[in-house]
Symmetry: C2
Subunit: 299 residues, 2 copies
């Protein structure tokens, strides 16, 4: 499919693309640029064919596909090197979780001769690093590609690449993407972080250790709140306008709920609780989760 | 251990006690009172020894242990029947998720001759009904018993009962219990319900179906928000004072977080995100969850 692929930044997501591309034979040669020395050692063990490069310089000129899977705050530095070294025929993509900011950055900083089509594979976990990657990470998961006016051929080539990795591909505009994922992904993460913060505050105020009783619900949130902090700082900063709106809507609901329970508004509260089950039902129908009850994971 | 046990209300939790008591041979005879006809059929299939009773009347007189595992809003009606029919030697317990309200109810309504020691096993899931019960539900999970001045002998007997079911037993005062679980259990559930409500509101306002992209985080919350609505209405109503305080603390954190991301307070935000990981680390050390990353459950 491609002659040469270069992966810049090879943590959990990058190494999953690496594993998938090798397993599906999507390229003849595969190159990796990764700064973290511990990660480099783990990457070498994945497959002997992987070529680790130490600099982004003229060597990268003839890469057919460049995949950036670093935190988004690294992109500026990387673009300077791509502008300097990459040939016009290359296709660039990335896997960032917000798209309007990167779209602006590309327009402003990327050489007009180069082609960058943004991707966002909806998969991951709280784990970081190449040892947690898997060739099956993208299987049956959505991958959002951002519509590009420039090059329909490259667009369909990139789409085929993700499909070969197992993704269900869908095209969106960057604004639409950032709005949707402010609700389905960024808000849940923001809430998880703030719930943990609230628990810590409670412990301080009340001088009580409550963490040991976390199996009743807190446990699941703590997992989400253990996600990579650099990645999530970038997401929250870059999607701050959508986040502000959805935080306000969420706070409004919390305040109403507080009134409901204090005024013991029985039928109103029951109605709210029942409606949540309908969403769960939709999520199961859409195969975004399984119906098997979760009693907590066993050691 | 007991001659006769009666379980009143036999859903997921009740039927797990039932299964555990039979499997551990904790009684000679076991009786069940369950109003739901569908549930009655499922209970009969669990074991031939189970005796289903149709009324709470004089038949229950000589029960050694009565376990109430109905929603807490049913307790008032049940107490009237216990006062009328139960002998003074019986031990009563229940499995409700809030304790101050039940403690008040007992003082006000229960016959002074009867003995009720409250239990709260910290285990469960979003599933309801006896078919989801398991004899191992309580294994290595906390069971909180509320200190009783009245009868130390019965207290230690009840403690042994839960330990035989696999629980780690700990004694608390009812006020302490309700405060701790307002943070570790009730707030996570309240948040999950309100996140789902916010998603529904967002869908209406923006005329967009976003549920199909819920694998990025929303999925896990939707599971929690699918829990039994009667049980959770009772919890929120009965623990409303603690809930109000913790909701306020949570909203304060959300508002600060919103300012952090809008003002791009870099080091402050990174510091907050990093601190969450420490709590996760504690939870793993305390064996409240396992460290294996969660990539979403497979069909």
């Amino acid at each position: 499919m491609f002659k040469k692929i270069l992966i810049i930044g090879c943590g959990m997501i990058g190494s999953s693309i690496l594993r998938g591309a090798i397993s599906q034979k999507l390229c003849k040669k595969i190159y990796v640029f990764e700064k973290n020395i511990k990660y480099q050692k783990q990457i070498k063990k994945i497959n002997k064919k992987i070529i680790l490069i130490k600099k982004i310089d003229k060597k990268i000129e003839n890469m057919d596909l460049v995949i950036i899977s670093t935190p988004m705050s690294e992109y500026k530095k990387i673009i300077i090197k791509l502008n300097k070294n990459l040939s016009n025929n290359s296709l660039i993509t990335d896997v960032g979780s917000t798209r309007v900011n990167v779209s602006k950055l590309i327009k402003k900083k990327l050489s007009k001769k180069l082609n960058w089509i943004m991707s966002h594979p909806i998969s991951g976990s709280e784990a970081s690093g190449p040892k947690y990657g898997s060739k099956n990470l993208f299987k049956n998961k959505w991958c959002i590609l951002i519509k590009s006016k420039k090059n329909k051929l490259l667009e369909s080539k990139l789409s085929r690449f993700w499909k070969k990795l197992g993704s269900k591909v869908i095209f969106m505009k960057e604004q639409e993407h950032d709005k949707i994922f402010s609700v389905t992904s960024h808000l849940p993460h923001l809430i998880a972080y703030n719930l943990i913060k609230t628990t810590q505050d409670f412990q301080k105020i009340n001088k009580k250790n409550v963490i040991k009783y976390s199996a009743g619900g807190l446990r699941d949130f703590s997992r989400i709140a253990a996600s990579n902090e650099i990645m999530w700082r970038d997401v929250f900063f870059n999607n701050s306008k959508n986040m502000s709106k959805i935080i306000d809507l969420f706070i409004k609901n919390l305040k109403n709920f507080k009134i409901d329970i204090n005024k013991k508004r029985n039928s109103l509260l029951l109605d709210k609780l029942k409606k949540s089950k309908k969403v769960r039902h939709q999520i199961l129908l859409l195969k975004q989760d399984i119906s098997k009850p979760d009693f907590g994971r066993e050691n």
